[in-house]
């Protein structure tokens, strides 16, 4: 099976799973079940969006929360103002993308770790500013709360997760994705063989931040009340990074795997010990960077390879 064929199989499998999840509301589950699956779906979207820039274009963006936050801010403002939510979310995603392109031109002059810490600083600037300008908690109007339907948010989350999976699968098997991977492996060599590195990195960033902006919009549509600076918090970036690396950076299925594992373990452990998941995932992450840069996906491939070798020849 070729790499592109591989991605297509995984994309179909994940989409089928999402299709099954779409049937879940018909079984009239408890509300906390729907909320839990919602969190998994939001995490999948966030992780895949981060994966585009990190996994394919090879740039560690530590300011990802800024785009999630911008999407949330714009969506929330427009939606409460009376704009239909899908339109508001599109506007949020567009704002995040435009902002990303503006700063991307400057930020992509930075290489490697400098890009990472530069984007981290940009994200923190935005978070502090939003916290200063909008210190009050944002709560939905009473009429909106009265007509709040969880299932609407749930279906939207399934749609977004599906879009992000399709986007990454399409990218992975396209010339665009090939060029991005060339940059990831060796930027100078890619440039020398005619790949326009800046344009491709900006394309990756635009796609990534559009999805992050949509995810932020979904967050704004889902929560009854939150502080406007909250979605700008660096932990959104850190979550995306952990899920992507633990699952397998630069693969389609890795971030999905990582997101499911992360949210399940986080919610399960939170019942007994708050935030202990960060200790486990922090340590796991260090181990993966040192020993298994391909994450769980690579671990599974190795295990399969070993089993294959152990099997006697027929």
């Amino acid at each position: 099976v070729t790499a592109a064929g591989h991605e297509r199989h995984w994309a179909l499998a994940i989409l089928a799973a999402l299709g099954l999840l779409a049937l879940l509301p018909l079984a009239r589950p408890r509300e906390d079940t729907l909320n839990f699956v919602f969190l998994v779906l939001l995490a999948i979207t966030l992780a895949e969006s981060w994966n585009i820039v990190a996994g394919y274009a090879g740039q560690v963006n530590l300011g990802h929360a800024a785009f999630f936050g911008l999407g949330a801010l714009v969506t929330r403002t427009l939606w409460i103002g009376g704009t239909p939510v899908l339109l508001a979310m599109t506007a949020g995603a567009a704002t995040a993308t435009v902002f990303a392109l503006v700063i991307g031109v400057a930020a992509f002059r930075l290489r490697g770790a400098y890009f990472a810490i530069g984007t981290l600083a940009l994200g923190e600037i935005l978070r502090t500013t939003v916290g200063n300008v909008l210190p009050e908690i944002s709560t939905l109007p009473a009429a909106t709360i009265a007509s709040y339907r969880l299932t609407q948010r749930y279906y939207l989350a399934i749609g977004l997760a599906a879009i992000s999976v399709v986007a990454v699968a399409a990218l992975a098997s396209s010339r665009l994705g090939l060029g991005m991977r060339a940059i990831r492996e060796d930027e100078e060599a890619a440039e020398a063989s005619g790949v326009g590195a800046l344009a491709l990195k900006l394309t990756a960033l635009a796609l990534s931040t559009a999805l992050a902006g949509l995810a932020g919009g979904l967050f704004a549509y889902y929560h009854i009340s939150y502080y406007p600076a909250h979605p700008f918090g660096p932990h959104w970036t850190f979550d995306a990074l952990l899920m992507t690396f633990i699952g397998g950076v630069g693969t389609l299925q890795g971030p999905v795997l990582g997101a499911v594992l992360y949210v399940v373990l986080k919610e399960y452990l939170a019942l007994r010990w708050v935030d202990i998941h960060l200790l486990i995932f922090g340590a796991l992450f260090v181990a993966i960077v040192l020993l298994l840069p391909g994450g769980l996906v690579q671990a599974a491939e190795r295990a399969r390879g070993m089993l294959g070798r152990a099997r006697p020849a027929a």
Binding site: R109, L110, G112, A121, F238, F245, L278, G282, L290
Partner: protein
Amino acid sequence: MSVLAQQLLLGVLIGGLYGLAAAGLSLVFGVMRVLNVAHGELIMLGGYGAFWLAALMGVDPFASLALVIPGSLLLGAVLYWGLFGFVVRAHEEARVKNSLLIGFGLALALHALAVRLWTADERSIPTSYGGAVFTLGDLSIPLVRLATLALALLLIGALQLLLSRWRWGKAIRATAEDWQAALLTGIDIRRAYLLAFALGTALAGAAGTLVTVAYSVSPSIGLEWTLKALIVVVLAGLGSMLGTFVGGVVLGVAEAASAATFGGPYREIVGLVIFVVVLAVRPRGLFGR
């Protein structure tokens, strides 16, 4: 006017700690080309060391430096053997990136561990002399903060002396300058790396102690102090520890001035903006030519 002068003075006092916090990061980055973003968490651990020594055994926080510094040296050595020593085998670009990721995971784990062990509460060390103030004209100078500034300068001076006089200090500097040449002249660069990382961690521990005496400590101060240290390192460049100290003071004063101009909540932004601007001007980073 005197209000502004007072604020700028407090800026200078905290700036000394920014300088000390950055010195360790600068040493590790300069020598090993390893960007340890868990530096702020190491500062946090040093702060808790001082806090518990005071709370459980009644050790004076300034005296606790005599225990926190050796303890941090040891911790640094352990972290080098267990984690960062593996990173230095890679070539430079991969090294910086991998160290960033490892430091990041370490930072998350240490933060979660600190919350688990010591709760998320903010702690400070009460001392009999904590409220002492020294008046100079209109200015009132908190004695403890003045002492932390003096100690920060002293520690940085001691480090400078160590790097210029001690045999291994010279080896560390030679490795920072050109590790291949250092290797050719027979320097054990692995040991130079280990020493640099242990010294950097010791400086973080000392900074954490002083931060806890003059201000407070909580598990979540790490990211903030890592960012401050990064800003100072970018501002001051690598190579001179005294330059790093001056860079720290400049950041402290810039923060105070911006807080006075735009209001308190914006004090954090000025440093980040300086950081982004310097990076934009020197996109190849600190080693760019």
